[in-house]
Symmetry: C2
Subunit: 269 residues, 2 copies
Amino acid sequence: MPTIAVFDSGFGGLTVLRAMLPLLPGSHFLYLGDTARLPYGAKSRQTVARYAVSSAQFLLAQGADLLVVACNTASALALDELTAALPIPVLGVIQPGVQAATALLTTDHSPLTTVLILATAATVQSRAYSAAFAALGITAYEKACPLLVPLVEEGWIDHPVTAEVARIYLTEALAAAPTVTTLVLGCTHYPLLAPLFARTLAELNHPLHIVDSATATAQAAAKIPLAPATTAETTTTFYATDSIEKFQRLGSAFLGQSLPEVHLIDLGG
Amino acid sequence: MPTIAVFDSGFGGLTVLRAMLPLLPGSHFLYLGDTARLPYGAKSRQTVARYAVSSAQFLLAQGADLLVVACNTASALALDELTAALPIPVLGVIQPGVQAATALLTTDHSPLTTVLILATAATVQSRAYSAAFAALGITAYEKACPLLVPLVEEGWIDHPVTAEVARIYLTEALAAAPTVTTLVLGCTHYPLLAPLFARTLAELNHPLHIVDSATATAQAAAKIPLAPATTAETTTTFYATDSIEKFQRLGSAFLGQSLPEVHLIDLGG
């Protein structure tokens, strides 16, 4: 059976694994959260690349046939380094999200700024989304939202403070890019906030198509040719570099089911 | 002249350095922010100790005569390891804060819970403050406030969202410990929020003495015998393990003055 490795700095990438499970039955999934070194979102390209490559090499040693980089920051900053370092296919979350958003735009393509991306500071600073959209002739606006990950991790998913923070970020973004029609959730924590974003946009009288890059990435992963499944049973093995307890406690909200045993590993550093 | 090393996971410890500068003129200060591996606040004891010891060994190699651990999480989780690993005096921020709070309590000592500590999740889980107060016969209540560091780092120091988050955390803490009279700011980011805490407590009709462990630690450091200053000039050298730009941009709010050149160093990991 194919072994599919999913990697994130923490547990946000579990939203990508969650979307992959029903699309790739009979696979063995490895999930690694590099929790000792999270968050990647405020760190430099060099540091994120070093962390991502050491994480990926661990997963390769466990037999991975495909690496899904289920972290927007690592996809934005380290995809080239990962592709160069590994002898297996490497799929990030940015291209699938860009393609899903572009498919929504085909009917109303325009020279105006049409796509809004919400992401971490590091992802925005990388300009990875803007560059990918620009290559397709689409103008995108990226907005850094540093408070959303801590709010999700505090468990304030449906909370007035989170709603107010979302309102502030969306109001600033829509003032800067009033012609957008599509919103890309450029962080694997944000799918948990999708209902809140939709409600806030309705209140702001500016509804947008919402593209969840977790779902888009799972669909792209399912199209990559791998060894066929020889069993109907899907298995998962979870690894983290720190704090198993927190990983299990918070992870279930992202995976949508309780997590089995999580193995603590040491990647150094 | 004495060389005094100040260490934090990021730039929060600059509030401690800021308090030390006027008390120790003629010293050479080294400041290291381990920004590549921040935040420590959500990580395990073992991981924090490993990061802290490698940071301290770098500072020792630069000639430090005294190490001030200007990080509550590292003080709570790694002070024993640091003291064992280094041949120089090591001062954390917890004991000075506890002593300053205890001095305020002498007139109204009571068997009831009298001290409230706001801190990161890791500091609270360590029970370091509770244990230090318990050794003095004082009952303390610790409240984890995971959103406050991200809010300060977003620059939302005097912002309605931060005020609302502070109100929620303080209301929960005062409901659990209604007899407190003294508040210890158990994180080096929190001195920037001291005016907001005071205002929120007044609105909640529950004013408290506020103890800033940065000031208390600076006063304790000034009492440690070191080589006498041979010059009136105070010098500072800054090191960070990641993102010099962010360190300089955010650090000035904590130091209360603009930062000079920051040296990027690599501690591995």
